[in-house]
């Protein structure tokens, strides 16, 4: 018991780490969604060079380690005069990395839509960007929600990577406390529990969304 009471003073520190982990996850998710949707649209653009660019982006992001990508953004960008704070560098890297997967998942979802969906909007005189935002993307998201949720839980679990550029997220905060208190098991279990809770919240939110879509009576 006395061992655990050693940890009590460290609780605020862990809580701060957890807050940073949540913030990092949310920021990376926003980047992932927005960039993912854009990459998808570019990937399917009628302009060949744009398509190729998107394809290269996707294979680079999926084919190289996230750690290397993070270092590239954190250490290489300052060399050309762009200074990126660690938290921002980590959000961008994790987000970009995940966006490549989100784009490919959405592309799969899009492929399952009937071509008549876009055609009906086209025949009505809708502009292309509206067709994307009103007809195609909402349905692609809906179809691929389970896979996207899966990708987002992976993203949350990748956030400890930010510790390599000294972002004191939950796992890094934990390491500092372990070094001071020599209580690895208790600290690591608390960290694991925190991640688990975060991902459980994420999956149940997604489950709620899915059920709402179901009420809409999707046949696919």
């Amino acid at each position: 018991m006395s061992e655990l009471s050693n940890l009590l003073p460290a609780l605020p520190e862990l809580a701060r780490g957890f807050a940073i982990t949540i913030a990092l996850s949310l920021c990376a998710m926003v980047v992932s969604w927005v960039v993912g949707a854009i990459v998808l649209v570019v990937r399917l653009s009628p302009v060949a060079p744009l398509r190729i660019l998107a394809t290269i982006f996707i294979s680079f992001m999926r084919g190289t380690p996230a750690l290397v990508q993070l270092f590239l953004i954190f250490f290489t960008l300052p060399m050309i005069g762009i200074k990126v704070p660690p938290f921002v560098a980590a959000s961008i890297t994790l987000g970009l990395n995940s966006s490549a997967y989100v784009a490919e998942i959405l592309r799969g979802g899009l492929g399952s839509l009937h071509p008549g969906q876009a055609e009906a909007a086209e025949a009505l005189g809708m502009r292309s960007w509206r067709i994307w935002t009103r007809v195609l993307l909402p349905q692609a998201v809906r179809v691929s929600l389970p896979s996207i949720t899966n990708e987002l839980t992976l993203l949350v679990k990748t956030t400890p990577l930010a510790s390599v550029v000294a972002v004191t997220e939950l796992s890094f905060a934990g390491q500092i406390i372990i070094a001071r208190t020599f209580q690895p098991t208790a600290v690591l279990l608390s960290i694991a529990a925190a991640f688990l809770v975060l991902n459980l919240i994420l999956t149940s939110l997604a489950g709620l969304l899915e059920r709402r879509f179901d009420i809409a009576g999707d046949r696919r």
Binding site: H114, Q117, E119, A123, L124, R127, R130, R134, D218, R219
Partner: protein, 269 residues
Amino acid sequence: MTIPALRTEALRKSFNGVEVLHGIDLSIMPGETVCIVGASGSGKSTFLRCLNWLSPASSGHVYLNGELIGVRETAGGSVVPLAHKQLQEQRQRIGMVFQSFNLWPHRTALENVMEGPRIVLNQPGAQARATAERLLERVGLAERRDFYPAQLSGGQQQRVAIARALAMKPEVILFDEPTSALDPELVGEVLAVMKELASEDTTMVVVTHEIGFAVEVADRLILMDGGQIIEDAPPRQFIEAPREERSRRFLDQVLSRGLAPVHTIHTSE
């Protein structure tokens, strides 16, 4: 002299070098209902899709109330494709109803009908909603406005799709086999709505296999075969005294299957 609501001039269409429409000239006057019949593969859908440029013609012209569709003539006299923005503005004036309805499954019946006025025509929400409610009532679906497409029967979905097209107040409406995907007992309710539209002098081009409907409702009945117009006549004349041998053969085939009359069917629930 009135200008045709829709006119095609030497319209040709090829897919990968294979020509499927061989120069079609056709004029449709305002208020006319023109039904197009013909065997599978004769080019009916392709022709209809050229009319709103969903499928751009390979050569020839389409005019909507005198205005060239899909292309413009440059000062030098050559013809170039229109910018997408302008093309979409033209398409707002041509309604289309598809065989597979193509309603958006993530929107309710009302939202499907409102989408055009609100998003394409930028009408205020309240106005778009009022229009949509009125149109759903007109196709007998006022009670179903908050249902999603998957919760509606095929006939109801097609009536929503017709309301969606009407919401844009188009100058012409194109129908591509609007009842072919329906169970036989649901065909009547859709045809009844179309019949009413025709009686209100909506300009309509209807590709259909419902010869009974065509005979009863159309001002002109057109037979297409092999990418050409074979016969173009008032339906009675078409049936009783077709000029072309191919029309006679087509009629023999169709009439041997029986000519089902269209009843006026209540479209209310």
